[in-house]
C-alpha cells in the first residue's frame, strides 16, 4: 500500500487541487429566461464524467482521513490508547478529544451539543471518537482499528417511556440551551403546544369521532455522493476546504471556532454535491479534515463509504403520532387533538425546528378552528435525527391523511369529496392564527389528480401470457396475476417554504455586467449550494430575463461572497433566486444610469419611458431600441452585491403556539394505484400521479423533475425504507444499500404530473417553493391504496410483507 498515486492526467503541480470547481458559462447560443425549460449549465460536465464531486478532489501528496466510531450506543470512555495506531507505517496523525486546539469543542446547528470528538462519553452508535490521517485509505482504516478504546456501557434511552421515566438516564446532563426552561423533562429537546378555539365544545358537535395511533419509521436521505471533501492547509495558517454541503456559511460558523481560526482564514468552496435532501445540513467530515490538515501540514481527503455514511449524517425523525378528529354527519370537521412524539436521537441537530413544523402543520390543509396540538422531540441514544425533505410535515401528513380516510368512511362520503369539503383556501386561518394570504388550491389539486385517467387494469396480460416484470414480485416469478388485488388511494399535504419562526432568512447575490468578446455578459456569484436541484440553471435564466443578455457565467459557490442560506426548506429559488433578481434589478438601474448620462440627450424616452434590457439592448416598454448595451457600457463594468430578505416571520408563542410563523405554504396532492399480492404481501405501485401548485414554474422541466423525485422518496418510506435500530442496544442494524432499500427503477411507477401555476404575490415572479411538498402526500397515498386493496388498517409506515400477511 504505497502512498503515491500516479499524477492524474490533468494534475497541476502545487496550486489548486485537481477537481477545484470552476465557473459554468452558458454562452451566446443558449437561450432561455424565466419560464423556459433551459438545460442545466453543468449538464455536459455531468454526462461526460468531468464534473468534480467532493469525493473526486485530488491533491499531490494528499493524505486520507479516517474516523473511528463508537461500536456502542451509550458508554463512558474509560481510556483511549492511540500508540499502536500511530506506530503504523504511513500514519501521520491520530487525534482524539485531547488534541482539539481550542476550548470550543462542540458544534451544532442551533444547540452546540455535538462533540467534535467524543469527550468521556459516547451517546449513539457510530459517534466519532478519534481520527487518523495516513497515506492510503486502507492504511488509515487499519490504523483506526488499532486504536484501543475501553468503554463502560451505560443504560440506553430508546423511546419516550425510557426518556421520561422517573429514574431516566439523562442523555445530556447540565443542559443550558434556550429550550431547557420550557421543556417538561431534560430528555425533551423542545416541545411546542398549539391551542386554538375550544376543542371540548367542538367535540360536542361531532357525530363521529375517530382516533388513531400511528408510527413512522426512521428514513435515510440516502444521497448517492458520500460525505467527502479535501482540506488544504495554507501558508497563512488557514485552511482551504472543498466540501459538499447545503450551506457553506453555516458550516463556516461552526468550523472556525473549533479550529481557533478567524472565519476569513477558513476559505470554503462548494465542491460537486451528489444530492443532499437535508442530510448535509449538519457537519460531517468538515472539522475532522481541517484538524488533520492543520496538524500534518498536508492536504487531507476524507470520503465516507456507504456504511459510514449511514452513521455520518442525521436521519428523518421516526415518530409516534396520536390523533383524534371529529366530524358532523354532513362531513364537516369539528375538531382535532394530536400528540406527535419525534425521536431526535443523541444530539439536537434541527430537532427544535422540526418540532415547530410538525406542530404548526399537524392539521394539514384543512379548515379546523378548534385544535389542541402538542409536538415534542426526545433526546435518546438512537441515531441523531434532523433535517430531511419534508421536515416534520411528512410524519404529520402520514397520520392526518389516514384519519381523513377513516372519517370519510364513517360519514359515508367519498374520500376525495370529504377532503374537498374541508379543504383550506386562501384566507383560511392556520392553527397558529396566521391567515393563509396567497392561493391555497387544495380542493382544485384533489380534483385534478382524481380527474387523471386511471392506468388500465391487468397491464401484465399479453397474448404470450403474463409479463411477470409488471406484477408484484417481478422476475422472482411469484405470481401470474392470481391473488393480485388493485387499490387506489388519495392524499394531500401542506408544507411551509423557507425558514420560519422569526429566523432571519436572507440570501446574498453578486451580479456583474460587462462586455466580453463584443457582447454583454453577466456573471452571477452566490454561495448557494447546488445539490442537484438546478439552482444554477435558474440563476442564469433570471439574469437573462432581467438583464437581456444571452451569455451568463455562474461562479462557483464559496465563502468569498455573503451567505445564501441553506439549500433546504424549498427555499433556494425563492430566496437566492430573489436575491439574484434583486441584484440584477440594481445592476439594470446602474446600467440605465450610465445610458442616461451618455445618451440621454439624444432621445426623450431615456427620461420619460419605462426602460427594459432586452436582446442586448436598452429598449422602451413600447419596444423602441435606444442603445446597445455594448455601447452603453463601453468598457465599464457594473457590479452589485446585495442581501435580500423575504418578509419577516415571528416565533410561535411557547404556550399557545400562536404567531405569524411561516413565509409561504406549498401544496401537492397524489393518487396512488397499487397492486398487491395478498398471499405474499408484495406491493407494486403501478402509478403515482401528482398535482401540485408551483406558483410560477421558472423552469418547467426542473419543476417536474423535483416533483417526481420527491414523490419517489415518499414511495420509499411507504413500502421499503427504514433504518432499523435495535430496541435493546440502540445499535443500527442495516447500514448498507444491501439492507436499507431505496426504490430502484423497477420499484418505481410512472409519475404523471399536473402543474398548476397560481401566483403568490409576495414571492419573486409569484413562485412557490416546490421541493418538499411532493414528499408529503406520496406516502399516505400509497398507504391508502394498499389499505384499499387489502382492507387492512396499516397504521405504520413503511409497510412490509409481514404487515400484509398477518405474520408480523
Amino acid at each position: 500500500m504505497s502512498a503515491k498515486p500516479i499524477p492524474a492526467a490533468s494534475a497541476r503541480q502545487g496550486g489548486a487541487p485537481v477537481g477545484t470547481p470552476t465557473k459554468l458559462t452558458q454562452g451566446s447560443q443558449t437561450r432561455g429566461g424565466v419560464g423556459e425549460s433551459t438545460l442545466r449549465p453543468d449538464g455536459t460536465l455531468k454526462v461526460t464524467g468531468e464534473f468534480a464531486y467532493s469525493s473526486d478532489m485530488w491533491h499531490e501528496d494528499m493524505l486520507w482521513g479516517q474516523i473511528l466510531r463508537s461500536p456502542v450506543a451509550h458508554a463512558e470512555i474509560v481510556s483511549i490508547d492511540t500508540s499502536e495506531a500511530l506506530a503504523q507505517a504511513g500514519v501521520y496523525a491520530v487525534l482524539t478529544y485531547d488534541d482539539l486546539p481550542t476550548d470550543v469543542r462542540n458544534y451544532g446547528l442551533e444547540i452546540q451539543d455535538t462533540p467534535v470528538l467524543a469527550h468521556g462519553k459516547v451517546r449513539h452508535h457510530g459517534e466519532p471518537v478519534a481520527i487518523v490521517a495516513a497515506d492510503h485509505p486502507e492504511t488509515a482504516r487499519r490504523a483506526a482499528a488499532r486504536i484501543k478504546v475501553e468503554y463502560r456501557e451505560l443504560p440506553v434511552v430508546t423511546d419516550e417511556a425510557s426518556a421520561t421515566a422517573p429514574d431516566a438516564v439523562l442523555v445530556h446532563e447540565n443542559r443550558d440551551d434556550h429550550h431547557v426552561g420550557h421543556v417538561p423533562h431534560p430528555n425533551i429537546v423542545h416541545r411546542q403546544p398549539i391551542v386554538r378555539g375550544d376543542v371540548a365544545a367542538a367535540r360536542e358537535r361531532a357525530d363521529f369521532v375517530v382516533e388513531g395511533e400511528y408510527t413512522f419509521g426512521m428514513q435515510d436521505q440516502a444521497f448517492l455522493g458520500p460525505e467527502s471533501g479535501l482540506a488544504v492547509p495554507a501558508e497563512d495558517g488557514g485552511v482551504d476546504l472543498y466540501v459538499a454541503t447545503q450551506w457553506l456559511h453555516s458550516d463556516l460558523r461552526q468550523i472556525a471556532p473549533v479550529l481557533g481560526l478567524p472565519e476569513d482564514k477558513v476559505r470554503m468552496t462548494l465542491s460537486g454535491v451528489g444530492g443532499a435532501f437535508g442530510g448535509r445540513e449538519d457537519l460531517s467530515m468538515q472539522i475532522h479534515a481541517c484538524l488533520l490538515a492543520l496538524r500534518t501540514g498536508k492536504p487531507v481527503k476524507i470520503v465516507y463509504n456507504r456504511f459510514e455514511s449511514f452513521f455520518g449524517h442525521v436521519h428523518r425523525h421516526p415518530a409516534k403520532l396520536h390523533y383524534e378528529h371529529g366530524a358532523t354527519k354532513d362531513g364537516r370537521l369539528t375538531h382535532m387533538k394530536c400528540r406527535i412524539v419525534l425521536d431526535g436521537g443523541a444530539y439536537a441537530s434541527a430537532s427544535p425546528a422540526v418540532v415547530g413544523n410538525a406542530a404548526s402543520l399537524s392539521v394539514g390543509p384543512y379548515v379546523l378552528d378548534d385544535v389542541d396540538i402538542e409536538a415534542l422531540a426526545l433526546y435518546s441514544n438512537n441515531p441523531p435525527c434532523g433535517a430531511m425533505r419534508g421536515f416534520g410535515a411528512v410524519q404529520a401528513c402520514f397520520a392526518y391523511e389516514a384519519q381523513m380516510d377513516k372519517l370519510a368512511d364513517k360519514v359515508g362520503m367519498d374520500r376525495v369529496e370529504f377532503r374537498r369539503l374541508n379543504a383550506m383556501s386562501q384566507g383560511t386561518v392556520m392553527p397558529t392564527g396566521q391567515p393563509v394570504d396567497s392561493p391555497a388550491p387544495v380542493a382544485e389539486l384533489l380534483r385534478r389528480v382524481k380527474a387523471m385517467p386511471l392506468p388500465p387494469e391487468r397491464q401484465w396480460e399479453s397474448s404470450e401470457g403474463a409479463d411477470v416484470r409488471q406484477l408484484p414480485g417481478g422476475l422472482s416469478n411469484t405470481t401470474h396475476g392470481e391473488s393480485v388485488v388493485r387499490g387506489v388511494g388519495y392524499a394531500v399535504g401542506i408544507k411551509n417554504v423557507g425558514f420560519s419562526e422569526g429566523f432571519d432568512d436572507y440570501s446574498t447575490a453578486r451580479v456583474r455586467m460587462e462586455v466580453a468578446g463584443g457582447e454583454p455578459v453577466v456573471t452571477v456569484h452566490t454561495a448557494m449550494a447546488e445539490v442537484g436541484q438546478g439552482g444554477v440553471t435558474v440563476h442564469a435564466q433570471i439574469a437573462r430575463t432581467e438583464l437581456g443578455v444571452a451569455q451568463v457565467t455562474i461562479q462557483p459557490a464559496d465563502t468569498r461572497v455573503g451567505s445564501a442560506g441553506s439549500t433546504s426548506a424549498s427555499r433556494q429559488t425563492y430566496v437566492t433566486g430573489g436575491a439574484v433578481k434583486n441584484a440584477c434589478e440594481l445592476v439594470r438601474e446602474k446600467v440605465l444610469e450610465i445610458g442616461r448620462r451618455k445618451f440621454g440627450t439624444y432621445h426623450p424616452a431615456w427620461a420619460t419611458a419605462e426602460l427594459l434590457l432586452e436582446g442586448g439592448k436598452v429598449v422602451t416598454d413600447g419596444g423602441e431600441v435606444l442603445a446597445g448595451l455594448v455601447d452603453v457600457l463601453d468598457g465599464e463594468s457594473v457590479e452589485v452585491e446585495e442581501e435580500w430578505r423575504h418578509r419577516p416571520t415571528e416565533p410561535f408563542d411557547l404556550r399557545t403556539g400562536q404567531g405569524f410563523g411561516h413565509v409561504q405554504y406549498s401544496f401537492a396532492a397524489h393518487r396512488a394505484v397499487v397492486e398487491v399480492d395478498t398471499e405474499l404481501g408484495l406491493v407494486k405501485v403501478i402509478e403515482l400521479a401528482c398535482a401540485q401548485d408551483v406558483g410560477k414554474a421558472l423552469n418547467p422541466l426542473s419543476v417536474v423533475g423535483q416533483i417526481q423525485g420527491g414523490t419517489i422518496q415518499g414511495l420509499g418510506i411507504a413500502v421499503m425504507e427504514e433504518i432499523i435500530v435495535d430496541p435493546v442496544t440502540a445499535k443500527v442494524r442495516n447500514p448498507s444499500f444491501t439492507d436499507y432499500l431505496i426504490p430502484t427503477i423497477l420499484d418505481t411507477p410512472t409519475i404523471p404530473v399536473d402543474v398548476l401555476e397560481l401566483a403568490d404575490d409576495h414571492a419573486p415572479y409569484g413562485l412557490r417553493g416546490i421541493g418538499e411538498a411532493p414528499t408529503l402526500s406520496s406516502t399516505p397515498a400509497v398507504l391508502a391504496a394498499i389499505r384499499n386493496a387489502t382492507g387492512l388498517r396499516l397504521d405504520r409506515t413503511p409497510v412490509r410483507p409481514e404487515h400484509l400477511t398477518g405474520t408480523a
Binding site: 500500500m1 504505497s2 500516479i6 465557473k23 458559462t25 440516502a222 448517492l224 427503477i745
Partner: protein, 206 residues
C-alpha cells in the same frame, strides 16, 4: 503490484497498486479518471459501472489485478466509444468479431492515433455547446435526466450497453436493464424519457 490494461482505448500502467484495491480505486485515484462514481462500494448502486471487455460491471467489485491485459470503457470514453461503434455500423469495438479497421488488433480498440488524441477536457467549461456527446449522453441532458448527476455515469454506461444490444427496448426492458443503478433525485421518470429518446433518435438515424 503493477497493472497494465487499456482504458478508453489508451494503454495504462498503474504502479504500486495494493492487491486489495478495486478497479474503481485505480481508475479514480491512480489514473485520474474519477468519472466512475463511489456511491456504495459494495455493488448495490451501479454508480461505478464500466465495461470490462464489453460487459457492464460494477468496478468497485472488480479487483484491480483482474483487469490485467483487459479493456475498460468508462464514462469518460463513452462518446468516443459510441462514435466508433457508429462508424463500424453499430458494432462496439470487438463486439462483432473480426479485425478492427486500420488493421489494429481488436484488443487495442481505438487506433493509436485516436488514443493519443483522447484526453479529459479542460476544467473551464463553455457548457453544452460544441461538445461531441454520445446519443445517450445528449438524451440525458435533453430529457432532464440529470439532477445531482452522481448516478449518471453508471446509468449512461448501462443504458448505452442496453441500447447496443436492444435498439428498440420496451419500458419493461429499460427498467430491467437499469435495475442495478440507483438514482435518488429523479424518481427515474426522466431517465426513462432519456433512454426512450436516445432509442428513438437512434432509430431515426438507421
Amino acid at each position: 503490484m503493477r497493472v497494465n490494461f487499456t482504458v478508453n482505448g489508451r494503454r495504462q500502467e498503474a504502479d504500486d497498486v495494493w492487491e486489495g484495491e478495486s478497479l474503481l480505486y485505480v481508475l479514480r485515484e491512480r489514473l485520474g479518471l474519477p468519472g466512475s462514481k463511489n456511491a456504495c462500494e459494495q455493488g448495490e448502486c451501479g454508480s461505478c459501472t464500466v465495461r470490462l471487455d464489453g460487459v457492464p460491471v460494477c468496478s468497485c467489485l472488480v479487483a484491480a489485478g483482474q483487469v490485467e491485459g483487459r479493456e475498460v470503457v468508462t464514462v469518460e470514453g463513452l462518446a468516443d466509444y459510441a462514435k466508433q461503434r457508429a462508424a463500424q455500423g453499430g458494432c462496439a469495438p470487438g463486439a462483432c468479431g473480426g479485425p478492427s479497421p486500420d488493421g489494429a488488433r481488436a484488443e487495442d480498440g481505438t487506433s493509436v492515433r485516436d488514443a493519443q488524441d483522447w484526453s479529459a477536457r479542460g476544467t473551464d467549461s463553455q457548457t453544452g455547446e460544441g461538445t461531441e456527446l454520445s446519443p445517450i449522453q445528449q438524451a440525458f441532458i435533453d430529457a432532464g435526466a440529470v439532477q445531482c448527476g452522481f448516478c449518471t455515469p453508471g446509468l449512461l454506461v448501462a443504458a448505452d450497453e442496453m441500447l447496443e444490444r436492444n435498439p428498440t427496448p420496451t419500458d419493461a426492458d429499460i427498467r430491467e436493464a437499469l435495475s442495478g443503478n440507483l438514482c435518488r433525485c429523479t424518481g427515474y421518470e426522466k431517465i426513462m424519457d432519456a433512454v426512450r429518446l436516445a432509442a428513438a433518435r437512434q432509430g431515426e438515424v438507421v
